[in-house]
Symmetry: C2
């Protein structure tokens, strides 16, 4: 009988490999690490969110022992509402992460049916043959953990999303001692966060953002409005503390910001006295120099509080000249245009605006190159597997590991759906599994695929044109003037002549002796050529042939 | 009779104000500075390019004395093919700029009908009451100029796109002496480039890019491929010189790169001996260490040489492991996703890839803050008008001017279509004119407006659904089962049930006694509600009602 292996399988990455879901499998046992969502790219028209294709998981449903969540960001928890109805297994997460999961499951009416377990850094957990230890890591959300998994073939360490912040806002450091101890114990495989491998040096501490806030607050004569991610509890904490130092109180604006602040306060992750908080009424009543707002919208999301305020469409709060706005985030690639529009609008309303290009109002939650090196050298793994990054980040991280002395043959770069196998001595690529992703659009999960997307792309470029013709069911002869309906192609009211000519083309194409079977094809061909000739556009052409 | 004023009118800016076209008007005279195009934003679905709305210019056609082009970039010359057929006036440009304009006008079969005049830095030109002097400025394309226009109310200086590069590749510096002389003469208004006002300090010299190239070429064991803008002649020159130093020869790849290299060489702006250049055949035959390619695709443009090579779809050249690729550009906002895909693909093919995040393989063509200050202090204008930037850049530039001592009331920030008037003593906002932009899609100029765009956006999100019904022309009674055609909404083959239900809804909605007049409205309403209920999507619904 062949020796069993431990398999590592990243699923669903749209770009960032292993970030949204990573499986660890041994014999009849699978544990799932993270179950996140991805945000659609600009070309994925009409798609709300993107989730991992879990068909491999469904094929091996009985093996799944549980889902471990490393931290509470959407790209690590947002897939749960889609996974749980199909694979209902226990979820393990730290307190704050659990709080964020509960909010999400409640929205999807899945909370009662789910078995949730709170773990803490330092805890250990046995799931089948896997002995899982949790260690604390700093990130841009509190309560993140990495995993050390004792497997039958050796110790596997998963960094989670991490950085080595020496002065985090909550005072809780990445657990250096634990990492060193794991290194001493002997680690077979390290899976480590590659996100910032393009960034040299060290990621600045969250504390430096606080110092920048202080400088800005000191100068601000009116209200101060800080936009950041609703999940960035540490940043919200810094806003509150800076406000206190400057004798201001804080209004929380935007649905998800309100929900998260409430939850994080209840769970003890956000330290704010109730009399610090402002209602919307108080925000508008108090003298501007006494007011701070913390809100959503740092990515230019069209329905967020900041974006609606910037376009003067937020009902209860308007931006006024003299307001100071801090956009405390960096653009996620693809959001640049939306953010630029928001910034320009804020300037138009007369606000003083601070953003990443001007001042250090944001730091990343991910390790830069020197920290990534520190992780590798603390863990001293036999095999190194870069994860959590685009393919280019993984390669750059892999090259770094090689420079640090890990032999090239022990550095394994994989993409979603590729399977790494380890027997304790060797690591190799196993048989590939379905590693793609699935589109969620409205209530539909997976019903928009490449065909629908291609149609949407076609329609988005050139619109469509429908030619309605009634023909004799025997002779194919045209019985009346064709009718034409079009949207997204040309402005019909100003293109009457073109549309009339198109009708004539249909008449000419069909002539007198067409067989009904070929009417559609003839219309498509003739109209397609005619319209391209006239406009250099290729609208989708749909003949509707009614045989009478 | 009231004193005449000089008017300054920026037109067509999509974001960057005054960049694509700026009018200067005095009495019965208008000169046009630049006639560029804009690239569509991601939400402008299907649009090829965006050009300024020139209706103001057309209303005052007889006043127009000429078009002055400051340099040969698309955002300054790309609008000419659309302007010239309507306003055929002489064009004034330096030699290289003229070369680039000629290539463009030839493509549009407009060259013969156009009156082109070559000017040189140091030249002067009288256009009606305007005495225009040209001075050299450094930029990311050679042969750029700024303008000093002696007007009846005073001297107006237009910086063009500029930076103060102390070691430009062609050795031709921005004309400090001329700027100082203008300052001494006394300048009424300075219009100055605001693009990089978010960037502190000085823009690095082009020469530093050459030094980075040297380091990369020294390490490269295989071929070196450099992608940059086809118009960046200085960068191409640096690639050629670096190749010479490293005993390599250069293949030029990509249509626009080939055209520009040919033209710039003929006009003497690119210094390359013919035996340095490689044919495609030689690129593939020579030992890799002897080969350099310079190509298009630095913005991830889908049909460019680099992008097709990266996705292994370029017929004659494939990327091989060991190749070194340098992407010598920064992303234009909105292109990040395309560029990231290209970079990841290059890494997948095993190339060593260098780009802006990793090394200084690119410098901007625009002045940073200290250079912008130098411009203001050399010119010492009475009025300052920031141009060439998004609104936020103009405000930041305006704040800088104020810090340098220009009184707030003499700093005027305007958007496209706003009119600045000067009488020699005061500057004020005049009556606004049409300052918008026009979409070009295929052969259509302006026929895609907000209605068509909104339809495309709707179709791109949720597709459409057509319900074809034949009804009795008198009673409105349904004569046969409705037919449904849909694209971009759901994948029809897997949604048969939904489509069948939709047909039933149509039948139920119409009942037996509908008047033909309201059939369409009823179908729209019923189907819309039903489909939203079922899918949470809102496809465009188009009833086709055939009355028999």
């Amino acid at each position: 009988m062949s020796k069993n292996t431990v398999k590592l399988i990243p699923l669903g990455g749209l770009g960032e490999i292993g970030k949204n879901m990573m499986l660890m499998e041994y014999g009849e046992n699978i544990i799932v690490i993270d179950a996140g969502l991805m945000f659609p790219e600009n070309y994925m028209l009409g798609i709300d969110i993107v989730i991992p294709d879990i068909s491999y998981l469904l094929e091996h449903k009985d093996k799944v022992k549980g889902i471990i969540i490393t931290h509470g960001h959407e790209d690590h928890i947002g897939g749960l509402p889609y996974v749980l109805p199909q694979v209902n297994v226990p979820i393990y997460a730290t307190k704050l992460t659990r709080g964020l999961i509960e909010v999400k499951l409640k929205e999807h009416k899945l909370l009662k049916a789910t078995s949730l377990h709170t773990i803490q850094p330092g805890d250990a957990l046995d799931l089948g043959p896997f002995h899982v230890e949790f260690f604390r890591v700093c990130h841009s959300i509190p309560d993140g953990v990495g995993l050390a998994v004792e497997t039958p073939v050796g110790l596997v360490v998963h960094s989670g999303d991490f950085k080595f912040d020496h002065s985090p806002v909550d005072g809780r450091l990445t657990d250096f001692a634990k990492l060193a101890e794991l290194g001493r114990r002997g680690v077979l495989v390290l899976l480590s966060d590659s996100t910032n491998t393009e960034t040299s040096g060290y990621t600045h501490s969250e504390q430096e953002v606080g110092e920048t806030f202080d400088r800005i607050f000191s100068k601000a004569k009116g209200r101060v409005i800080v936009a950041t991610f609703a999940s960035n509890i540490s940043r919200v904490q810094q806003v509150i503390e800076t406000a206190e130092r400057h004798n201001r109180r804080v209004g929380v604006v935007g649905r998800s910001m309100v929900n998260n602040v409430k939850m994080a306060t209840e769970l003890g992750y956000l330290n704010v006295s109730p009399d610090m908080l402002l209602t919307i009424g108080e925000i508008n009543r108090l003298p501007p120099r006494k007011v701070v707002m913390v809100c959503t919208g740092s990515q230019g999301e069209p329905t967020s509080a900041l974006v609606r305020m910037a376009s003067d469409e937020y009902k209860s709060i308007s931006i006024r000249p003299g307001d100071t706005v801090i956009v405390s985030a960096t653009p996620i690639p693809g959001n640049e245009e939306l953010i630029n529009h928001t910034l320009n609008n804020l300037f138009r309303l007369g606000a003083d605006v601070y953003y990443d290009e001007l001042l250090d109002v944001h730091v990343s939650g991910h390790a830069s190159r020197e920290e990534q090196k520190l992780m590798i050298n603390l863990i001293k793994p036999r095999f190194f597997v870069p994860i959590h990054g685009d393919y280019r980040h993984l390669i750059l991280h892999a090259q770094m590991a090689q420079q640090l002395g890990i032999p090239a043959k022990n550095i394994l770069v994989i993409e979603s759906g590729q399977v790494l196998e380890f027997d304790g001595d060797e690591g190799w690529l196993g048989e590939e599994v379905a590693g793609g992703y699935v589109f969620v659009d409205g209530l539909g999960v997976g019903d928009v695929g490449q065909v629908v997307l291609r149609d949407r792309q076609h329609l988005s470029r050139d619109g469509f044109l429908i030619a309605v013709v009634a023909v004799d069911e025997k002779t194919g002869e045209l019985l009346a003037e064709p009718d034409i309906i079009s949207r997204g192609f040309v402005y019909i009211r100003e293109s009457e002549e073109l549309i009339e000519q198109a009708k004539e083309q249909v008449v000419i194409a069909l002539g007198k002796s067409t067989s009904p079977a070929v009417v559609s094809a003839k219309i498509k061909e003739t109209l397609g050529e005619f319209l391209y000739e006239q406009t250099r556009r290729r609208p989708m052409i749909l003949p509707v042939v009614i045989e009478v």
